[in-house]
């Protein structure tokens, strides 16, 4: 059982660091002791702690014992290792004497390395790790794109998949999954909301995922080609399901007895045949509109009727479109597969009218790229930002070390005079840097481990696989690598400085390299200011994006609205549109009677809820085939929906009770569609055609409402069409309740009202409209928070650095300042001079930073909203802010300079 294994990361660390025989014997010993002694005696947690302690001690002990000479050390040159050990010990002693200096350096490095490790662990989990499938590199996703409607990531119709299977030789398997549905786990106990995905029986074999327990589906349990060739209406195969590991744990306490048992889903019996592995999820791109968490997997069963629709209109909400996962045949390249699918798409366009009208093309995308593609901009930007923070941290430490080198000039010169050669001094300096870096990276790891928790909490819901985040071997290797790179960056200048000391500095009153050193340090500080400016520009642009995104009019008033979803599906109830409409009417009435409720409405797909429903439509005079070139959001609503949501009416009227009559066809459209219908205005009264329950119908436009951002706050939705719920009473519905009181206080009363009417229906997605809006702001807010934190860190580090260099320069020039003051210079002019020196550095940094930002802020690209990467005000504001901070950092040492007592400084 996986849960009783030793900690994976510790094992991987040992595997990485141990070599040869020793690796096998040590790992073998630890595994044996772990499983036979420690685990049974002390339990899993203590055993895992024990294993970690053993692993870390093993590594440090081996390193220490190998470095320590086992015979009395021979004095003198010797090999590098013992010498290095000696240098490290010497460095440790010397830092011990200046704990303040060491602490500042270690904390600075820890911040830089910790931030890098934390962000990298996110990048690792989301982008780098393989998807949890067999041979995942060979998996691709197939989508339709429509050139006329300009749509990407369109689900593919199941009959098309059957054609692919017959005609395409580039693949070894095509698996199909339709939209995830909501259902209720009924039977014993409180009804529980579950999500159900219906998939082709070969999905798990195409993905290469075995069952955790029981079995996966076998062919015959809802196979596509059989159903299509469908000359015989086969006997219905047994209704079987697989459960997710999560549901198995939550509801059944991981009981193995559940396999073979019959459970009730929305009142229908289903036999459980298997449990999926704990880490299994079907990863699809979030904008494809498939729900992320699936509790129940059921093999698809197509009814013949679905396929006979094939020559008719495409009905995107029907059962027969979905996502397609395929595995490339060995030796076939992605390009070859894509070429073959192009050819098939071309044949379909010739033979099928709506393929031609919609300009349907088939796109083959590597699964991993498709799933994580949208997350790339955020992660790449964040990785860039933390790299900058680490650079700034390194520069600060380099500056500290250089200043310290000046303070130790006596000691270094003495060692040079006593015959220490350059190599020796260089090595000593590098040993100091290495020690600081090692301490910094250890502290950084702790910091990272700790901050990863808040990172995950801050992460937007659409960041895939964020929950798999953890410190594994890859992350540790990255930390090690970044520590080494950091050591080289911050250690080089101080090491060269130390190595070029001369014995004669002992007797020279002023230290000869001071001017050169000051120049180096000034350059370092200026670059630090430049890097900080770049981060501040990034944070400023993100801040503007968030502010503008928050000002977007979503097309509804989110304040005071509570929402929840229901799935109207239960045996012998809600059968047929009339029964569902009747139920909805009753529930709306009950909810409307609750105290504080101002309006109650229903919609088929709630705005920003992440579910799509689009339909072709036609304008007056267009033939049904031509409809396929148009695509609109299709929404069924009840009459008070707009009032409850606060969506404004621009022309005509909302729906009224009389519209529910089945012989009346009416529709409300949004502004965008109104413009398409009648560019000059006057859409009310026009006719619009769309498929309803498989039939083409024409309806009269009775009203025009404002545009609503259905899918994403950032982009305008496509045109939208609203029809009365009674005319297409879907099973999955969202209720919105507007209240004059606190929306959250309504949850209890709503639940009680529902229980009276339908005790077996679970409510789910119970949240306020403001929650939906907050989720939509999630990715922007995530990027802003992190870039903001990093920019703040950069400002602090850079001002500490600037302060350090200026006060160092003041100390160096105490003598000169004393003379000038003795000669009558006024304190103000001395102060001015010091501030001017500092501000020159900051100014150079800011100018360079602005130049760099113009390039780097383009990386933010798609993260920005309505703000140009070269937004002038942001640059000006950020430059002013940084100048202010720099002024403060210079002013403190300047005051000290003007307080110099000429008598004392000259003595």
């Amino acid at each position: 059982m996986a849960r009783h294994d030793p900690p994976r990361a510790a094992r991987r660390l040992l595997q990485m660091l141990l070599k040869g025989d020793a690796r096998d014997t040590i790992l073998g010993d630890l595994d044996e002791e772990f499983s036979t002694d420690i685990l049974p005696a002390e339990g899993r947690r203590a055993a895992r702690r024990w294993y970690w302690a053993q692993a870390l001690h093993t590594i440090t002990d081996r390193a220490r014992l190998r470095i320590t000479p086992h015979r009395p050390a021979r004095a003198g040159a010797g090999s590098l290792m013992p010498g290095l050990w000696q240098d490290l010990r010497f460095a440790a002693r010397s830092f011990g004497k200046h704990p303040g200096f060491a602490a500042v350096a270690v904390v600075t490095l820890a911040l830089g390395i910790g931030a890098n490790t934390a962000i990298f662990s996110v990048v690792d989990a989301v982008m780098l790790r393989d998807l949890p499938y067999g041979d995942p590199d060979r998996l691709v996703l197939l989508w339709n794109t429509s050139s006329t409607a300009g749509t990407q990531h369109m689900p593919i119709a199941a009959p098309d998949v059957a054609d692919y299977r017959d005609q395409a030789g580039s693949f070894v398997g095509f698996a199909f999954t339709d939209r995830v549905r909501d259902a209720a786990l009924t039977g014993d106990g409180e009804p529980q909301h579950v999500t159900v995905a219906r998939v082709s029986s070969n999905l798990f074999s195409v993905l290469g995922v075995p069952a955790h327990a029981g079995r996966t589906f076998v062919s015959g349990e809802g196979l596509i080609p059989r159903a299509i060739s469908g000359d015989t209406a086969d006997a219905v195969p047994p209704n079987v399901v697989m459960l997710s590991y999560g549901l198995w744990t939550r509801r059944f306490g991981q009981s193995p007895g559940v396999i073979g048992r019959t459970i009730e889903i929305s009142g229908e019996p289903n036999t459980v045949v298997g449990i999926l592995p704990a880490d299994f999820a079907l990863w699809l791109p979030p904008n494809a509109g498939f729900a992320r968490h699936v509790d129940v997997w059921s093999p698809l069963r197509f009814s013949l009727a679905d396929f006979q629709r094939r020559t008719r209109l495409r009905d995107r909400d029907s059962d027969n479109t979905g996502a397609v996962v395929a595995r490339l045949r060995d030796g076939v390249t992605l390009e070859q597969a894509q070429q073959e699918m192009h050819a098939i798409a071309a044949r379909h366009r010739e033979s099928l009218a709506f393929h031609a009208v919609a300009g349907l093309e088939i796109q083959v995308v590597p699964m991993h790229d498709d799933v994580i593609g949208h997350a790339r901009p955020v992660l790449v930007s964040l990785l860039g930002a933390v790299t900058f923070v680490l650079l700034i941290a390194c520069i600060n430490v380099a500056n500290l070390l250089l200043a310290r080198g000046t303070d130790r000039r006596g000691e270094l010169a003495l060692r040079a005079a006593l015959g220490a050669n350059r190599g020796r001094l260089l090595r000593q300096a590098m040993a100091e840097s290495l020690l600081l870096a090692a301490a910094g990276s250890l502290a950084g790891l702790v910091l990272a481990q700790w901050s990863v928790t808040s990172l995950v909490a801050w992460a937007p819901a659409n960041l895939p696989r964020i929950d798999t985040i953890g410190m594994d071997g890859t992350v540790l290797a990255f930390t090690l690598a970044s520590t080494l790179v950091a050591t080289v960056i911050f250690g080089t200048a101080p090491a060269i400085d130390a190595a070029t000391r001369r014995g004669r500095e002992l007797v020279q009153p002023r230290n000869s390299g001071a001017r050169r050193r000051t120049r180096v340090r000034s350059a370092l500080v200026a670059s630090e200011v430049a890097l900080t400016l770049v981060l501040l520009v990034g944070a400023g642009l993100m801040l503007q994006s968030l502010a503008r995104l928050q000002r977007v009019q979503p097309g509804f008033e989110a304040d005071g609205v509570m929402a929840f979803d229901l799935t109207l599906s239960y045996p012998n109830e809600y059968r047929g549109p009339a029964a569902r409409s009747a139920f909805v009417g009753q529930l709306e009435q009950r909810l409307g009677e609750l105290p504080g409720v101002a309006a109650v409405g229903l919609i088929g797909r709630i705005p920003l809820g992440g579910r799509q429903w689009t339909q072709p439509y036609g304008l007056d005079g267009q033939s049904e085939t031509e409809w396929n070139a148009n695509e609109a959001n299709f929404r069924v609503i009840t009459k008070d929906y707009f009032a409850a949501m606060g969506t404004r009416l621009l022309a005509g009227r909302y729906f009224v009770d009389a519209d529910d009559r089945q012989d009346i066809r009416v529709a409300v459209v949004d502004e965008t569609m109104a413009r398409r219908i009648a560019p000059g205005g006057g859409a009310v009264g026009a006719r619009i055609g769309f498929p309803l329950d498989g039939q083409a119908v024409w309806a009269e436009v009775v009203g025009v409402v404002e545009d609503v951002r259905h899918d994403d706050l950032r982009v305008r939705s496509r045109e939208s069409l609203y029809v009365p719920y009674r005319h297409e009473a879907s099973r999955e519905v969202s209720f919105v309740v507007r209240t004059t009181a606190e929306p959250a206080a309504l949850v209890g009363p709503i639940r009680r009202a529902l229980r009276v009417l339908a005790p077996h229906l679970p409510m789910y997605n119970v949240q306020t409209m403001n929650d939906y809006v907050a989720d939509a702001l999630g990715p922007t807010r995530f990027a802003l928070r992190l870039i903001g934190v990093f920019a703040l860190l950069a400002v602090v580090l850079a001002s500490v650095g600037l302060y350090g260099v200026i006060s160092y320069a003041v100390r160096q020039r105490t003598h000169e300042i004393g003379i000038r003051m003795a000669l009558g210079a006024r304190p103000e002019s001395v102060r001015m001079q010091v501030v001017a020196d500092g501000m020159t550095l900051a100014g150079v940094g800011i100018v360079v930073g602005v130049g760099v930002s113009v390039f780097t802020s383009r990386w933010l690209g798609s993260l920005l909203f309505n703000v140009s990467p070269a937004d002038g005000w942001t640059y000006v504001g950020v430059s002013l802010l940084l100048s202010g901070v720099a002024l403060l950092a210079c002013y403190v040492p300047a005051r000290r300079a003007s307080g110099v007592d000429p008598m004392r400084s000259l003595r």
């Binding site: 141990l18 025989d21 020793a22 096998d24 014997t25 040590i26 790992l27 073998g28 010993d29 630890l30 595994d31 044996e32 002791e33 499983s35 036979t36 053993q54 001690h57 093993t58 590594i59 440090t60 002990d61 081996r62 014992l65 190998r66 086992h70 015979r71």
Partner: protein, 117 residues
Amino acid sequence: MAQTLGEFEQLIMLALVRLGAGAYGVSMRKEIEERTGRAISAGAIYTALERLESRGFVSSRLGDPTPQRRGRPKKFYQLEPAGAEALTRSYTAFTEMTKGIRPKLDDLASQTHAPGE
């Protein structure tokens, strides 16, 4: 060349003598931990053993893999004559130097503690 043994090396070789034929990492570590109360890591044991082996004091052979070890073989160690000789030398030196000093040691130990109490 003077073949001196460190304290840790002595502990390891003494454990080998005590355990006889069945001595390998886990059993040696338990033996030393139980008798001396010193917690030691697998890494430390094997580093010392490798070093002793390179000096010809101990020798090793691989045993059979077991499932608890995930198929990894055990590595058994035994004392070689040269090792036994070195250990004897250290042991003799130690016992000669410690003869009859226990009362004096206890005395010293109690003195150092006295002022603090």
